[in-house]
Symmetry: C2
Subunit: 369 residues, 2 copies
């Protein structure tokens, strides 16, 4: 029986009971709302995680490398949810020719014309969603922008629907703000869909989602799918806005105490930013968690202790209030609970999967583009 005392540190751990609980929570919510999940696999990038959440179900990917990897594992309905660079269309075509329903995303007439022209030349149906901007967070056209209908027309038969992502919901800090973000995300997507349909452009898909809005939505009328991914692991940023509890965090990084600086009230570990990432997502929140909270190797939080500094392979642990750090001898193993699961997971190629503190499996993580 392998335990978390065996592998050399640092390494990533997934608590499979928490993963299952997080998966079940959203599954139940969406069942009640009557809308299917399209899991975003960019957080875990692991077939084993996706299989556990919804084996073979529709997925969202952030790179074509993910699309190819999950297609190899049997996933057949894949949405590539980053605006398409026309240079990448040959890889999209290769996936379509393998029988995968690979849907692309775009928000300009230039991209729509490139897709239509490429699809025509290759005699392919190349389904594309139009990205709708619901909150000024990143890409997309406003539902009132005349470009929306122009893009729809330029796509012709390749128009598969509309998509929006409430990226600003990551900064919504109250249940009311989260509900409003969810309502706005749904309303904006449906408004864009209605505009296109009113202009004689039919399509099946109205896609919305983010982990915060998926957990806050109360009405998804007109929506055909919800995308979420971070929630399988959750993280301190999500806990900070109240979408989950710290006890729901399924991903952590095991590190070892390698030194002390008593006069500075520091504990040094062998887990630096290479193990946790440089993500400081809680910096802008009400409670800045540094590079993460600290638990013992069994996962029990250590009050007052957090990871306050990071170099490449060194972590600095200290206390928020200047209390003396606990007496943790050289060799003590600890877990760091991350700010941002997507970024921390990306630093690792494997997850040690634990139930309690027994390692039950090693899952692999894909990477690259």
């Amino acid at each position: 029986m392998t335990t978390l005392d065996a592998p050399d540190t640092p390494f990533a751990v997934v608590d499979v009971e928490r993963l299952d609980r997080n998966a079940a929570r959203l599954r139940d919510r969406l069942r009640q709302l009557g809308v299917p999940l399209r899991l975003h696999v960019k957080t875990a990038k692991s077939v084993e995680v996706a299989d556990r959440v919804q084996a073979g179900g529709p997925i969202t990917v952030s790179t074509l490398a993910e699309a190819e990897h999950f297609a190899d594992a049997g996933y057949q309905d894949i949405l590539y949810a980053v605006g398409i660079d026309p240079h990448k269309l040959p890889r999209v075509a290769a996936l379509l020719r393998r029988g995968v329903t690979l849907t692309v995303l775009l928000d300009t007439v230039v991209q729509a014309e490139a897709v239509t022209s490429f699809a025509h030349k290759e005699t392919l149906h190349l389904p594309a969603l139009i990205e709708i901007d619901c909150d000024g967070h990143r890409g997309g056209v406003a539902p009132t922008d005349p470009a929306l209908v122009q893009i729809g027309r330029a796509l012709g038969d390749n128009l598969a629907g509309v998509l929006t992502h409430a990226g600003e919901s990551y900064f919504a800090c109250t249940p009311q703000a989260l509900r409003q973000a969810a309502q706005n995300e749904r309303d904006t997507a449906v408004a864009a869909a209605e505009t296109l349909r009113a202009n004689g452009l039919p399509f099946p898909i109205v896609s919305v989602g983010s982990t915060p809005t998926a957990h806050a939505a109360t009405d998804l009328t007109g929506v055909t799918e919800v995308r979420a991914g971070n929630y399988v692991f959750f993280d301190l940023v999500m806990a900070g806005i109240g979408v989950c509890d710290v006890q729901d965090l399924a991903l952590s990084v095991v590190v070892t105490v390698i030194g002390h600086q008593h006069d500075k009230n520091w504990i040094l570990t062998d887990g630096g930013w290479m193990a946790t990432s440089r993500d400081r997502g809680t910096q802008a929140q009400a409670v800045d968690q540094g590079y993460g909270l600290v638990a013992d190797v069994h996962g029990t939080l250590m009050p007052d202790l957090l990871m306050t500094g990071a170099s490449q392979e060194h972590g600095v642990l200290s206390t928020r209030d200047g209390k003396p750090v606990p007496d943790l001898p050289i060799g003590t193993r600890l877990r760091i609970l991350p700010n941002h699961a997507c970024a921390t997971a990306a630093q690792h190629d494997h997850y040690q999967v634990v139930s309690g503190t027994t390692v039950e499996a090693t899952w692999t993580r894909h990477r690259g583009w």
Copy 2:
């Protein structure tokens, strides 16, 4: 002939002429100072880079995975410069038994006793350096700390020397401050060495280094080796403290324009933090470079443009002064010059190696622990 227009973006590029120039610059400096280089390979983690700088020469590593990888490639003199976790000693022993001179680092009596006991049990000579704290940056004992001699005694025949790293030099912003950091680094290491030797403890190695101090030192009397690694690529943090010019940066990330938000004066690219890392190392400097400066695909800087935002696979480019962003159509390729080469390189498994804009080779990068 492959050019930077061929691979799908994002991908990492190394300008080999700049790499060679950076390598020659420090080689010349250290020749004048009469002290050999022990290249830190943690920045590039690439045998091809190390071969280009000093093939087969002494190296520093930040993980045992690096040590094993470079040993496989024929590197025989390796310093693992992170305080040793006793749990990792079996892997150290395996390298020693392969004939590699693998030197470890430590700063406590507990670690020294673990090393001595392990070496005795395994009938190995296990060379160890004592880490000296020269500037309060991270680990190490002060040269005046009575623990220094206790650690030296606990190491017995395994005592191989002392090591210090002027980590605070990354925050030195004037030539004078850099020279002082270098002088202090040297003086502290030599003082510690003298204390140990005065207590009847002999050893051969006095190791100092960081990219800033290696480029600022004027006297290294008593020092036996200089460690530096970042300088092979350099980055915006190093340019910000004046150790290099922006024109020396050898690492960049090629990204593609995938959208525009004209009302926000934004250009969107397919290079997010997965491609650049979350490192915001210039945030604390006089000039905050966001997630990096922007050059055209040939490497010519685009005035006023910088990467100001990042999600996982999206970058946001905008201007510092609110000037309109240049008109860059969908599909335009750009290079992002990174804040921190070590962190950005870590996001990639390969480097496209260019001379001018012709891709001459693909080099691989190692990762993991």
